[in-house]
């Protein structure tokens, strides 16, 4: 188990190094000089040179890469080209919205998907199964921004239970902040829950047809007991994989939902920075997202091992 852990940890570190190099190089070859962009077309050559110097765009590639990585390790992400504020601060503010939103949506999605998937699988072919499959089919097909607009219409405009958008901030108190994240989280969670429920159902059905379920039934377990004690944990591996992928998506891919609800999240920050050629912000946010994805994958790998003893011994 320790060996498995260390090996995964090593792979995590290597992935991060490779990712940082790729991100850095990709932005190196992108055409467009941020300094020229900031100063506009009428900039004087000497002003431009001075600004390039200030932004640290002049050194060798190697030195700039090391400077960038070294800075990130010490919490210094540099200064935004457009806003002239520390990038770390900008990201920090946004992360306090995007991370809770992703976790909230993922929790909702899991809470919906597990019971629905298990229920459908345990009553295969019944009305319940058909209903769950039908509803999740819709959930997968309908885009989340449409859900979002629908919910704004019903819960914000007609019923006036929630505000239509914006974020009150954590200073307003935990429950109020969570309340303002509720509609976006639900909108994000519904399609994800639909996918997850379908994966849960099919994985569970596969497991229920395994020989060891028959063995369990021959011992005298009821169908229900066989499902809960033997099938469920065996069916979790594909479900964990999907949860891992979904978290990464929710963290970075919420841009449309952030726009619909006027949330100043990470997705919008990346979008704005790309439009403004604020490369340092783009670099940092992308690196942060890569870190999040890799860490989540690491957590999923650890969860695999917790579920399946066969993986623990593997080198």
């Amino acid at each position: 188990m320790l060996r498995y852990f260390l090996k995964r940890l090593l792979s995590l570190g290597l992935s991060l190094v490779v990712a940082s190099v790729v991100i850095f190089l990709a932005l190196e070859v992108v055409p467009g000089d941020p300094a020229a962009y900031m100063l506009g077309i009428n900039a004087q050559p000497d002003t431009l040179a001075a600004l390039r110097d200030e932004l640290g765009l002049n050194g060798s590639v190697w030195a700039r890469y090391l400077g960038w990585v070294g800075g990130m390790l010490t919490g210094d992400f540099g200064t935004s080209y457009t806003y002239r504020t520390p990038v770390a601060e900008m990201i920090g503010e946004r992360l306090w919205i995007s991370l809770p939103l992703a976790l909230y949506a993922l929790t909702l999605s899991t809470l919906i998907a597990f019971p629905a998937g298990i229920w459908a699988a345990s009553k295969r072919g019944s009305v319940v199964d058909v209903a769950v499959m039908g509803v999740t089919q819709l959930g997968v097909a309908i885009p989340n921004f449409w859900f979002a607009m629908l919910m704004v219409l019903v819960f914000a405009i007609n019923l006036r239970w929630f505000s239509a958008g914006g974020f009150v901030g954590w200073d307003a108190g935990f429950w109020l902040a969570m309340k303002s994240l509720t509609l976006p989280a639900v909108a994000l969670a519904l399609p994800q829950a639909s996918i997850l429920a379908r994966v849960m159902r099919s994985s569970l059905l596969d497991t229920l047809s395994e020989d060891f379920i028959r063995t369990a039934r021959a011992k005298g377990l009821t169908k229900r007991q066989a499902l809960w004690r033997h099938a469920l944990r065996n069916a979790l591996i594909p479900v964990l994989t999907i949860i891992g992928l979904q978290f990464s998506f929710l963290l970075a891919g919420a841009i449309i939902i952030e726009n619909v609800f006027f949330l100043p999240g990470l997705g919008r920050l990346v979008f704005q920075s790309i439009s403004a050629r604020d490369l340092i912000v783009v670099e940092s946010v992308v690196m942060l997202l890569v870190l999040a994805v890799i860490v989540v994958n690491f957590a999923v790998d650890m969860a695999y091992a917790a579920v399946d003893p066969r993986l623990r011994g593997r080198r």
């Binding site: 060891f212 021959a218 005298g220 377990l221 007991q225 033997h230 080198r315």
Partner: protein, 525 residues
């Protein structure tokens, strides 16, 4: 007193009749063997007794289990009965256990489900059950997971689960079919011992007449959902009346009619071959461990000869086959076929002289191709496909007894035996000199197996083929080979004339193998 009485049992699944008027009974301390070929309904009979039937199954008739009418009981009552009054052992030990629970937990579960005892007490009794199944706790701790055990050891865990509550009746559905012969012998001995010492009744389902003849007090022969004949084992084996029973017995002991016509030409020369695998790296920059699957094997195959290669799973026989076919490189020694070294540069004209037939007739064909295309595929080895290729395909299909009208059909339209004939046709289309038969008859029912063995013998006669016949089944190897090689842990431990090796084995391992293989009594066979 009868533990299990089945009377006039009819079973249909979604309206398709599976069992028709099946009757049998099992008493305490008695072993009843149910024998039949695939589709005979023998396993369904067992599942009906447990009422563990597939969706859509309907039963009528009478099943009496320890004085209770099973067909009238509620599912809740059945759950209380399963595992407590009757235990069950299955065919596939590799998949019959939950991979993520320890063996102790899985055995203890039988106890915890039925009795109100503490977990510690259940674990103690699980250890006891495992000891009765000959997996002592000192050598096999309860904390082991199934993947840490061999097939035979897993089957002992399944048995321990089934006998943990000392049920009066044990149902074993092909309990040794997936196991090697020596392991099979151990498991059968264990089952017999449990019956004798604990007075259990045992319903033993098998396709292997020799296994049943060796074990059972009473034999029930089934065919197409019906019992064709039953009676006391030793008497029935010698006084069979029904034509199907007689045919089954004849097929089990079938000896294809063949006369060896060996020439001295060496077609295949395997010299000191070593095949190594890299198992895993020690860390990312560390060295690698190697596993020697084949350790310096040498033999020769002559023209017109039939050479057997026997050994248990993991002995390296399949690895050796792949090396001979040139599918994998060897790490030492040389393989020459028709005088040329086998390897990457082996000329494809010669390559067509070696063909192979594999075990599984179901997965070795592309399901989207018609039979013509399947059989004609080896023509790719030739520089140009001969003009009369369709005639050749028709001819070879006639030769293997399928008939040319099969040419435009798809593979799913054929039974297992027919598919194996088509596989043989595919191997013969280029008129090879060497045919490698890798467990080619192992998946077939005995009557089909007898037919295929006859076919192979006739084809050898007609075309002067040389066979390398790889199998774990000693009786088949004995019936069709002239010489035999016995392989163990990557080495050939004994070789010689087939009759001589079987009648007077020299190596300890050969003796073990032959002793373990179930045989019909001499006066029956």
């Amino acid at each position: 007193m009868s533990l299990l009485v089945i009377e006039g049992l009819d079973l249909s699944i979604h309206g398709t009749p599976i069992l028709k008027g099946v009757s049998l009974s099992v008493s305490a301390g008695q072993i009843v063997g149910v024998i039949g070929e695939s589709g005979s309904g023998k396993s369904m009979t067992a599942f009906a007794a447990m009422q563990l039937l597939p969706y859509g199954a309907e039963c009528s008739g009478r099943i009496d289990l320890g004085g209770r009418e099973v067909l009238t009981l509620s599912e809740a009552t059945l759950c209380q009965m399963r595992g407590r009054d009757v235990g069950m052992v299955f065919q596939e030990p590799m998949t019959a256990l939950n991979p993520i629970k320890t063996i102790g937990d899985q055995v203890a579960e039988t106890i915890l489900i039925h009795e109100r005892v503490s977990r510690a007490e259940a674990m103690k009794r699980a250890a006891e059950a495992l000891r009765r199944a000959e997996l002592p706790q000192e050598k096999f701790p309860l904390s082991r997971y199934p993947h840490e055990l061999s097939g035979g050891q897993r089957q002992r865990v399944v048995i321990a689960m089934a006998i943990a509550l000392r049920p009066k009746l044990l149902i074993a559905d092909e309990p040794t079919t997936a196991l090697d012969v020596t392991t099979q012998a151990q498991i059968l001995t264990l089952l017999k011992k449990l019956v004798q010492e604990e007075g259990m009744g045992l319903l033993l389902i098998s396709h292997d007449l020799a296994v049943v003849a060796d074990m059972a007090d009473e034999i029930v022969i089934m065919r197409q959902g019906e019992v064709v004949e039953n009676g006391p084992a030793q008497w029935l084996l010698r006084n069979m009346q029904h034509p199907y029973s007689k045919a089954l017995l004849a097929a089990s002991t079938h000896q294809p009619d063949r006369a060896a016509e060996e020439l001295d030409d060496v077609l295949l020369d395997v010299c000191d071959v070593v095949r190594e695998y890299t198992i895993h790296r020690k860390g990312i920059w560390g060295g690698t461990d190697t596993f020697r699957a084949v350790k310096g094997v040498s033999f020769q195959l002559r023209k017109g000869e039939s050479l057997g290669l026997v050994g248990e799973s993991g002995c390296g026989k399949s690895t050796l086959t792949r090396a001979i076919l040139g599918l994998e490189d060897v790490q030492g020694g040389e393989i020459h076929a028709f005088g040329q070294p086998v390897g990457r540069d082996f000329p494809s004209a010669l390559r067509s002289g070696i063909q192979v037939v594999f075990q599984d007739p179901y997965s070795s064909f592309n399901p989207r191709w018609k039979v013509t295309r399947l059989v004609a595929e080896p023509f790719h080895l030739m520089a140009q496909r001969p003009d009369d290729w369709r005639d050749r395909v028709a001819q070879v299909l006639e030769d293997v007894g399928i008939g040319a009208d099969a040419m435009d059909r798809y593979i799913h339209e054929f039974s297992g035996g027919q598919r194996q004939r088509i596989a043989i046709a595919r191997a013969l289309i280029l008129r090879p000199e060497i045919v490698i038969l890798d467990e080619a008859v192992s998946a077939l029912d005995v009557s089909i197996r007898a037919q295929i063995l006859d076919l192979l013998a006739a084809l050898q006669q007609d075309y002067g083929l040389s066979y390398l016949f790889i199998s774990h089944d000693l009786s088949v190897v004995r019936s069709i080979t002239d010489r035999v090689l016995v392989m163990k842990s990557g080495e050939i431990v004994e070789q010689g004339q087939t009759d001589q090796v079987f009648d007077d084995p020299q190596h300890e391992y050969t003796k073990q193998l032959i002793a373990a293989a179930p045989v019909l009594p001499a006066d029956v066979a």
